[in-house]
Amino acid sequence: MNNPVTTAAPVGRLIQEFHKLPGIGPKSAQRLTYYLLRAPVEEARSLAQAILDMKERVVLCSICQNVTDSDPCLICRRGDRDGGQICVVEEPLDILALERTGEYKGRYHVLHGVISPLSGIGPEALKVKELLARLRDGLVREVIMATNPNLEGEATAMYLQRLIAPLGIKVTRLARGLPVGGDLEYADEMTLARALQGRQEV
C-alpha cells in the first residue's frame, strides 16, 4: 500500500493497522482512519478502550470454550439449559445465530475452527480434546453437529462422529436442505438430494 509522503506518520500507521483486519481493503482502511481523524477525541479513546477491554477481559469458557467475560459463561451457568445435549459449532458467532432462533435449550461447544486438510489444520489445533473430556461424565445423551454444510465442516463432523460413537452417545447432524428465500431452480444437486431425504409430512 502506498501512503503519500505527505501523510503524517501516525495516520499512515493506523491505515496499515486497519488494513491488516479481515475484510478491510486499502480504501476502507483510509476511510476509517480519516473518519477517526475528524471525530472527537472521546470517540477515539472509547474505541481504543473497547478493543483493550475485549482483549484483557474476555477469556474462553473452561467448559464450552465460548468467549466470555466470566468463567463459566452465562449459558454454561444457567440451570435451565439441558446438560444432556451439546451442540458443536465452529465459531462463537454460530452460537449467537443459534440462540437467535430460541429453539435450542441445550449447551454448546465451540471448536474454534474446522479440520482443514488443505491448510494442514488438524484436530489438535481445535478444541476436540476438551469436547471429549466433557463426554466422559456420562451425563451427555446427544451431541449435535452444527458445523457448516461444506466439505470441511462435513469432514470435521464425520471425524468427531467416529471418535464419539464408541462412547455410546447419540450423534446427530443439523438437517440440510433448501434455504428459506432460495430458489429450487438454482439449488445444487447435493442440497436437493438432502432436502428430499429429509422431507417431512405436512
Partner: protein, 256 residues
C-alpha cells in the same frame, strides 16, 4: 474445483482445473450466504461448469452448475482425504493457464474411482504414477537408469533424483537409496503400462502397498520440492474406517 480460499465477508477465491485452460483462479461473490445461487456449486471436489467474466485482477464466476458432486466420496473420510490429496497434487504441480487435458481427465477419473467401491489406496497409486507421467517425470521402470541394462529379478533400488530404478551393480553399496522389492517393481510396471480396468483388479497386500506408496511419495516430493498438507489428514483418518481411536490421534502432528 480444487480449492476455495475465503475472501472478506462472504466471497471465495476459487482455484479450478479446467480441460482447456489448465489451472484458473476466479472469485465467487457472496457464496457463503445460504441463499447464494453459486454456494453448493463451488465446493472443493465438485466437477462443474462455470461461466467466468473478465475482472480487473481476477475473473469473476457469474454462473455455476454442478456436473458431478461425487456423493459417495463425500460420505467417507478416507475418500475425502484421497480426493483432496489428488487436488493438492494438481494444485502444486501445475501453472495457471497451461493446458494439460490428460491431467484433467486423470483427475476426473480419479475422483470417479474414489466415488466408487474400489480401494482408495489403489486409485491413489495409479493417480500418482500417471500424474508423474503427464508432468514429464515418468519413472523409468523398464531398465536401469544408469547402465540402461535389464533389471535382474531381485531387489533393485529406486531413486527419485535418478528418475527411476537402479540395478544392484550400479547402486553404490554405502548409499541410502531406497530398496525396491521385485513385487513392488512388477506392480509399479503393471500400473504404468495397463489401463485402469486391468490395474483395478490387482490385489495388493498392505505391506506391498506401503512400499509402493513410500517410493512414489518420495518421487513426488522430490519433484514438487514441498510437503503436502493433505497427507497429514490422510494419515489421521487412515483408509476405510480403520485406525483412529481417541487418545492416539489427538497428539499434535509434528508440531504443526
Amino acid at each position: 474445483m480444487l480449492r476455495g480460499i475465503l475472501l472478506g465477508e462472504a466471497d471465495r477465491i476459487l482455484t479450478l482445473y479446467s480441460p482447456w485452460r489448465g489451472k484458473v483462479r476466479a472469485v465467487a461473490r457472496g457464496v457463503r450466504r445460504p441463499t447464494s445461487r453459486l454456494g453448493g456449486h463451488v465446493e472443493p471436489l465438485i466437477h462443474g461448469s462455470y461461466l467466468l467474466a473478465r475482472g480487473q485482477e481476477l475473473d469473476v464466476v457469474t454462473q455455476g452448475e454442478t456436473i458431478h458432486s461425487f456423493p459417495r466420496l463425500r460420505d467417507d473420510l478416507g475418500s475425502i482425504g484421497g480426493g483432496l490429496y489428488a487436488a493438492e497434487l494438481i494444485y502444486h504441480s501445475t501453472s495457471e493457464g497451461v493446458e494439460n487435458y490428460p491431467l484433467f481427465r486423470l483427475l476426473l477419473d480419479t475422483l470417479m474411482r474414489l466415488d466408487g467401491e474400489g480401494s482408495v489406496e489403489l486409485a491413489l497409486r495409479y493417480f500418482e504414477l500417471h500424474l508423474l507421467g503427464h508432468l514429464g517425470y515418468r519413472p523409468q521402470l523398464g531398465r536401469c537408469v544408469a547402465c540402461q541394462g535389464a533389471l535382474p529379478p531381485t531387489v533393485n533400488f529406486f531413486t527419485a533424483s535418478g528418475g527411476g530404478v537402479l540395478c544392484p551393480s550400479c547402486h553404490p553399496p554405502e548409499s541410502s537409496v531406497r530398496r525396491l522389492s521385485l513385487n513392488a517393481l512388477k506392480t509399479l510396471r503393471f500400473f504404468q503400462e495397463k489401463d485402469w480396468a486391468q490395474a483395478s483388479r490387482l490385489k495388493v497386500s498392505p505391506p506391498l502397498m506401503a512400499e509402493i506408496k513410500g517410493a512414489l511419495r518420495e518421487f513426488i516430493l522430490y519433484h514438487l520440492e514441498r510437503e503436502l498438507k493433505s497427507t497429514l489428514f490422510m494419515d489421521l483418518v487412515g483408509g476405510h474406517g480403520s485406525a483412529a481411536s481417541g487418545a492416539t490421534v489427538l497428539r499434535p502432528a509434528h508440531g504443526r
